[in-house]
């Protein structure tokens, strides 16, 4: 590619990506004002994380630990994606990756196992 081509490609890219980002934002704010709660929308968790200090002493449930911690590094994988036995392996690995305490890991595993089986 010569210099002129590169500059043209850069321009196209910038315009394209700006347009894509705007569409994303606009699409969503439109939806927000229209406020039509679709079934799909209702099915999703309206998760709001309190900006308070995390208190390890408070008795967090497995589902809470899962939804708060497992989103940090990657997209949340649905409990139904794996069998309870497979979750046993994964949580043992993710306890290491996520730096969970043993208790947190046991709670997450109990939640994932029961959610996977149903």
């Amino acid at each position: 590619m010569n210099l002129r081509n590169i500059q043209t490609v850069r321009m196209i890219m910038l315009v394209g990506l700006a347009a894509a980002s705007l569409t994303l934002m606009a699409g969503c704010s439109n939806n927000g004002t229209a406020g039509k709660p679709t079934a799909k929308k209702a099915a999703k968790p309206a998760a709001i994380w309190p900006l308070a200090v995390q208190d390890p002493a408070k008795n967090e449930t497995g589902a809470q630990i899962w939804s708060e911690n497992c989103l940090r590094c990657h997209q949340l994988r649905s409990p139904s994606q794996y069998t309870p036995a497979q979750w046993g392996v994964i949580v043992q690995y993710m306890r290491l990756k996520a730096g969970l305490t043993g208790e947190q890991a046991r709670k997450v595993l109990a939640f994932l196992k029961s959610a996977s089986a149903h």
């Binding site: 490609v9 569409t23 994303l24 200090v53 390890p56 046993g88 392996v89 994964i90 990756k97 595993l109």
Partner: protein, 449 residues
């Protein structure tokens, strides 16, 4: 004659008298019976009235009770449900713990990893397709022992072509309790946080190309370690730690003149070891701030050159997931400083002392937004990502591969078909001084297994 008349009259009178008498007798017995019936009926009625009154009383009492029960019902139900849930979750915990304490022979194996197919077009170079498969065999030996082996099979990019295989992980981990795991083997390095936490798997990255900061960071550590998570003092969030001792890095370069540090530390010369680790603090689950450092005494096989090197890095990771923004925003970033000290030469070795004593540094800021809650088909699966990254390396002397003066802006558009399958498109604006035009375009289809 009188006799004749008198008898019948007498008979008639007698009959009449008997008849009247019998009528009178019949009347009185009826009356008595009626009276008897009446009085029994009356008694019965009075009993019934009593019963009715009692029943009414009972009904009123029952209604009262029912009202009270109805009023109390929600709280009783709630409490009972909550208690039942607690009981159930305790049972589930117990069961899963029982299940976790596996019987001998009940080993659980999971094939995981990722596959990715990529197309890249770097200006000034040839465009190329690239494929990579990194299967992982993860094994839970029992509730305390976890073993991980990862391979990497890939087509070598560039004009040379071909394919290659590598090993990405081979480690054994033993849980020593709730707050500590010890392990050994080959593992992704925790230094810099970003590589260890997200990088090995393309399905959990937003952009295709690795960052310039990655080049400064050791990809792996081959050694022993201890790691875990503990509640922070005063219960103010959590702390995580990962401390290790591993084989030291090695100087590499042409004809015995070291000009690069290699962290592929599969062999250690001169007993040189790396000591390092990373600690991070999570005040809330969605904010993590990390600091990592490693000290090593790099050597060069054959030339026996010895020096010391320091890497320090800070990193942060956070996300905000809220309906107000119809989804989530994720921020990641980091900065790495790498210093290589003055080199020394083993007496009797003819190699010229290399020009060491220099500093490379670099870092990145990554932002991604996905309107996952907007409820609009296709749009909720799209993610826009942006990254700024740079490195500043020494012009001469020792530098890690890629550590030169370079800064880039990258923009990406991802479509998440699944939580673990993503189509990525990225354009990288590269600003390499005096070497204009190494912009690059990438497309990738990455799947996590």
């Amino acid at each position: 004659m009188r006799k004749r008349i008198t008898l019948p009259i007498l008979l008639a009178a007698a009959m009449a008298a008997t008849a009247v008498g019998s009528v009178r007798a019949a009347d009185s017995s009826n009356y008595q019976q009626l009276q008897k019936k009446y009085s029994t009926l009356k008694v019965q009625m009075q009993a019934m009235q009593k019963q009715m009154a009692q029943m009414q009383k009972q009904m009123a009492a029952q209604q009262k009770q029912m009202k009270a029960v109805q009023q109390a019902a929600p709280s009783i139900n709630e409490r009972a449900t909550r208690r039942a849930i607690k009981r159930l979750s305790r049972q589930v915990m117990k069961l899963s713990e029982k299940e976790a304490a596996l019987e001998p022979g009940n080993i659980q194996v999971l094939i995981a990893g990722d596959v990715n197919v990529q197309f890249q077009n770097k200006s000034g170079g040839n465009s190329t397709f690239y494929a990579d498969s990194s299967p992982m065999i993860q094994v839970r030996i029992d509730k305390n022992i976890f073993v991980n082996t990862a391979f990497d099979f890939y087509t070598a990019s560039g004009q040379a072509g071909g394919s290659a295989a590598d090993i990405g992980a081979a480690n054994i981990n033993y849980e020593l309790g709730d707050y500590m795991t010890v392990g050994g083997g080959l593992i992704t390095s925790p230094i810099g946080g970003i590589v260890g936490n997200y990088n090995p798997a393309p399905w959990n990255r937003w952009l295709v190309d690795g960052s310039l900061e990655d080049n400064l960071l050791p990809p792996n550590e081959l050694g022993i370690w201890t790691r875990g998570g503990i509640p922070a003092p005063g219960n103010l969030g959590y702390l995580t730690y990962f401390l290790f001792v591993s084989n030291g890095p090695e100087f590499i370069g042409t004809s015995g003149v070291p000009n690069q540090l290699s962290y592929d530390n599969f062999t250690a010369t001169q007993n040189a070891k790396t000591v390092g680790g990373r600690i991070s603090y999570l005040p809330i689950p969605n904010v993590e701030i990390g600091y990592s450092a490693e000290w090593a005494s790099p050597t060069q096989s054959g030339a026996l050159t010895k020096s010391d090197s320091w890497i320090q890095a800070v990193d942060f990771n956070s996300y905000y997931f809220n309906k107000k923004i119809e989804g989530f925003v994720k921020f990641r970033g980091g900065w790495t400083w790498e210093q290589v000290g003055q080199g020394g030469i083993t007496p009797g070795n003819p190699t010229t002392p290399p020009a060491l004593g220099n500093m490379s540094n670099g870092g990145q800021i990554d932002v991604a937004y996905q309107p996952s809650m907007c409820g609009i088909k296709y749009l909720d699966k799209m993610m826009v990502a942006f990254r700024y990254d740079r490195t500043d390396g020494p012009v001469t002397g020792v530098q890690t591969p890629g550590a030169m003066h370079e800064q880039r802006y990258s923009v990406g558009l991802d479509y998440w078909l699944h939580s673990n399958a993503v189509l990525k498109f990225e354009y990288e604006f590269d600003n390499v001084p005096d070497q204009h035009g190494s912009d690059a375009m990438f497309m990738q289809f990455a799947v996590g297994i």
